[in-house]
Symmetry: C2
Subunit: 629 residues, 2 copies
């Protein structure tokens, strides 16, 4: 007889394991993988092995492993940032080649680790590794592969530029793109085949490997974001000089010799159109690897995959149409802006006004869409999914964290618009735009996070049915054997109707919102399920086939899907604008008047990369929302 | 018969509640408090109340409440920071009075909320609120009260300065310290009587109130830190001007009229010696309030308070002596530095060299002490405490988070020392000092975090005993009924020796490090404990009286206590130096050469407040370590 008891307590053990109990270092490699075959001899040999190992105390608490490796990663990044600060000063002691050599070394170390990991995994082919099904969905990996391809093209351009100028460039600038190509190719392979792995052996060492990979990618992101802002700032200064505002002589980014091949300038110019993709690629990879790091040593609970829906597109009309209109409008604005902003002072101002008006319309629509979504959720209140999911947890934190950049920028604009003594024509437009920007992110974050955390409809409906049955029963039976055995606090009472095993009903919780408990206790009374699996079910509501339930409420779901697809396309648009150089925050002059050039540039250099990441991250999250709503 | 089953599943329910299930808004106020009395009538009335309430859907998922209020708090802070950036530009549109009016408003709102909270709590006197015993220990609150008193003195000085200059100062500068006095007094009252409260009613509203208080204090911290850095920078420039390095005319911080009372300048000068205390006060309060915010709606598990030890001071010799020597040395260095650095160029350089040499000795000793502590922990490996404790969790994150500032500063110094083309006399001293600083924080963080997470000795020893018994038994019985019932994965097997209820032994976990499980299964076999409480015990190891066990290993514990007290005094010293103006990073010129004045000042303005907070936070954490080791 297949015993339903055998899964009991997996969640408790997972909690123990995750909150900081022992992770055994390499010596005990095969321990976990061997636990799948449960012959007595093996257990005996394991036990004796443990006896031998114990006095050496090679086991190391998980918490320490995390702190050790986390601190290493932070310092790696900070060293890189310190080098970048040195480079950005354009002093005589720290040059770009120093920074690039450091990054190249770091990438090579990551390559070595990945090689080691893959080879070791291949050797352990007989033991199937545990996988976290939530980490790195297929479409996310697909998207990253496309970004990686664009990064490869960028590397090719870089190599071409190096070949052209190799007379006067340091060899590091030639080695760097070659290593980056290797790094990108092998990292994409790693993402496809190993990102879901839950590492159980050599934990402390692997933690260092994975965190090294995380921070290597963060370093590459920082470097990309810095180069990009610097390039943009130089272009901006040149533009101001051409309009006669400032006197600007030469930049720092051009080599001081003739190019040996033709079309050199074509390569170096196109390079900057590929930067945004490269930047997004690295930050997304580092987020995925971070989830892998969080998963090390985790005991995965039973994960019910959300049922796939085959992306039904029926009645998906309004959302996509409005979204495509927004996208088309944005691309038009982008082209006009880039053309007009360099022409004359009058067209320059026209372009800025146009940008802000377009932004106000878009953000207002997005606010309305998000609010509508939240209202729909409030109309159908339900408990949020409480199962452990580091991937989703990280999504939430990144959404709120990366909003900080834009929020700071917006509040600066608001203050500048209110406090300015001059009265530029787009003063109030900027004020409205900035306030809407704050509001839009506020609402959108709420919408996305609630969407990601909501339980599937079917689960809740099944629970509701059970609850109703339960309540009817309870009213008849007057609480069963409840109150009698109340202890000192009386919060927990025991229903003694189940033979040989006891059902526990938490009264405090029942009073509050008793979907789970009553589900279980009603089953208990029906005698279907042995009591001791109650705990298991408490944490994992059963999944009931979904299709028929879903069909019942098509309207609400269709509206939500339309909202998701609309927001998806709007966020794509709002990513496009700054990514391809449409940044009127540099050009409008209002904030510079209030905060001064240095402070305002500093704010923008902080906010812009975060804003770009925020939009891309929203695009990814909204796609997930769209798939599963 | 007192039934041990009644506590089963409290941790599961807590998990469900905390991960994002329903928080009922004000309408259901009394629900929780009434659950302690379990009469049937009450349950019935609760149930019918719930029926009535449900269609209105006033309940709101906890996750959403958190995101809603968290985002509000972040925006409050960012608006304040934007104002500060405006003030620091010294432009003509944003003045200090605007910033202070904003902060005053925010403080007044917090005052109103606290008043409302206290009044409402007083009315509900009959229901005893749940408390989180880990939040805000008594000595921490005591320390904060002292800091608050110093803040009050500072406010008095501020009022005196305002009275002196009131001719030419905005009234806001007079209102601000008065409101701050009110705010400080009532906040200290709140800390003493309500900081441990676990709020269960009006959750969404209370979340806004608490987060508002958190970010008000963060805002006050930012404002203090900014004023302090600006003041320091001005003093530094004046000093450079007096040494003939630069040409500096006048600061921004002096009013442009005569003072009406005598000793005005005494007041305004003493003000800056009180700043450090005020700054620490606000950041600590905001951390404590943050823990209160995390606790809202939480179901507190049974918290076993660590046994008090009465601070035995026997054999506490080496640590305190060495620590006091370090402290005395530091104070000497501080006085000499402040005197010498303004005299001549030669004494200026002498003072800087002296500071770094002193630092190297201290940091090296601290590294050795920390390493010794970690080795002692490795000699006595034990599982870390996994129970939920937001306060400790925050401590860990703040330790690592606030280290980032110093690490960045140190890596910049390292790069500057290596890359510099000139060869100042303290080049290698700075290099050694910076590397040691990185290493010291790395080791100290590991030591403190492991100390905070380690279980009490007694618990583990009791478990070890049980484990040994268990292992002997197991070897005799050959694994019992283990392998037979292995399911698809075979990780869990069921021991069928216990009548009427089944014991589950996780083989994977058993192989790994089976303190908990074997403890339980051995009891099971002895038939002492009914099976279903196994789960409960799994998560909460029993607390055995400690004293006799502790006496057994006096040496190791005494060494650890000596280490803790030594590190405590060292961190006090390292806080004193920068807090009272000993910041040679501004004076040595090495990093300015490599990074330029702007970038290096920016780095220092970021790193210094974090560093000060880090030291203070270490002092608090080490005191806790000292008490409980």
């Amino acid at each position: 007889m297949k015993d339903p008891l055998k899964d009991l307590n997996i969640t408790d053990l997972a909690t123990m394991e995750e909150n900081g109990d022992f992770a055994i270092v390499c010596l005990n490699k095969q321990r976990h993988s061997s636990s799948s075959s449960s012959s007595i001899e093996e257990k005996e040999s394991n036990r004796s092995e443990k006896r031998r190992v114990k006095p050496i105390a090679l086991d190391y608490p998980k918490k320490n492993g995390e702190i050790l490796s986390g601190q290493y990663g932070i310092n790696l990044l900070l060293f890189g940032i310190a080098l970048m600060l040195g480079v950005s000063y354009h002093g005589y002691s720290i040059k770009e080649k120093h920074l690039l050599s450091f990054i190249t070394t770091v990438m090579l170390i990551q390559l070595l680790w990945m090689l080691w990991y893959v080879v070791r995994r291949d050797r352990q082919k007989n033991s199937v590794p545990e996988k976290d099904s939530h980490a790195g969905t297929r479409w996310l990996r697909g998207g990253l592969t496309i970004l990686a391809l664009l990064s490869l093209i960028m590397d090719a351009f870089r190599i071409a530029v190096y070949v052209g100028y190799k007379e006067c460039l340091s060899p590091t600038l030639g080695v760097y793109p070659v290593v980056h190509v290797l790094h990108t190719v092998s990292q994409v392979y790693f993402l496809w085949f190993h990102i879901k792995d839950v590492i159980k052996t050599c934990q402390t060492f692997e933690r260092f490997g994975v965190i090294h990979a995380v921070f290597t990618n963060l370093l590459l992101w920082c470097n990309g974001a810095m180069s990009e802002s610097q390039h943009f700032l130089e272009a901006h200064k040149k533009r101001l000089a051409s309009l006669g505002f400032i006197n600007y002589t030469g930049g720092h980014d051009e080599p001081h010799c003739e190019c040996a091949i033709s079309s050199c300038s074509m390569f170096s110019k196109s390079l900057y159109y590929l930067y945004p993709f490269n930047i997004e690629y690295h930050i997304f990879v580092s987020a995925m690897l971070f989830v892998m790091w969080k998963n090390i040593g985790r005991i995965i609970e039973h994960q019910h995959k959300r049922e796939k829906d085959g992306l039904r597109v029926t009645r998906l009309v309004l959302g996509p149409i409005l979204g495509l209109v927004a996208l088309a409008g944005t691309i038009t604005i982008l082209v006009i802006y880039i053309m007009q902003v360099e022409e004359s002072l009058e067209t320059h101002r026209m372009a800025i006004s146009m940008f802000y008006c377009h932004g106000i319309v878009m953000l207002a629509c997005m606010c309305i869409a998000g609010t509508l979504g939240l209202i729909l959720y409030r109309l159908d209140n339900r408990p949020l999914d409480a199962s452990k999911n580091p991937s989703r947890q990280l999504d939430t934190e990144l959404l709120c964290g990366s909003s900080v950049g834009t929020w700071l920028m917006s509040w600066c604009s608001v203050i500048a618009a209110v406090a300015t003594h001059s009265n530029p024509r787009y003063r109030w437009t900027i004020l409205a735009y900035s306030l809407l920007l704050v509001l839009e992110k506020y609402i959108q974050n709420l919408f996305i996070i609630e969407s990601l955390y909501r339980q599937q409809e079917a689960v809740v409906e099944a629970e509701d049915q059970d609850k109703e049955e339960e309540e009817e029963e309870e009213e008849g039976g007057g609480g069963g054997g409840g109150g009698g055995e109340g202890g000192p606090s009386g919060i927990f009472s025991v229903s003694s109707q189940v033979p040989s095993c006891r059902g526990i009903v938490n009264q405090a919780f029942t009073n509050q919102e008793n979907v789970y408990v009553s589900l279980n206790s009603s089953r208990l009374r029906n005698g279907n399920v042995p009591l001791c699996s109650l705990n298991q079910e408490l944490q994992e509501p059963p999944v009931v086939p979904v299709s028929q339930d879903r069909a019942g409420k098509p309207d609400r779901r269709q509206i939500l899907r339309n909202i998701a697809i609309f927001l998806f396309l709007c966020n794509c648009s709002l990513w496009l604008l700054p990514a391809f150089g449409c940044r009127p925050q540099y050009d409008n002059g209002l904030e510079q008047e209030t905060f001064g050039f240095t402070i305002w540039t500093m704010v923008l250099n902080f906010a812009m990369p975060l804003n770009l990441f925020y939009r891309m991250h929203c695009v990814a999250s909204l796609f997930e929302v769209f798939q599963h709503v």
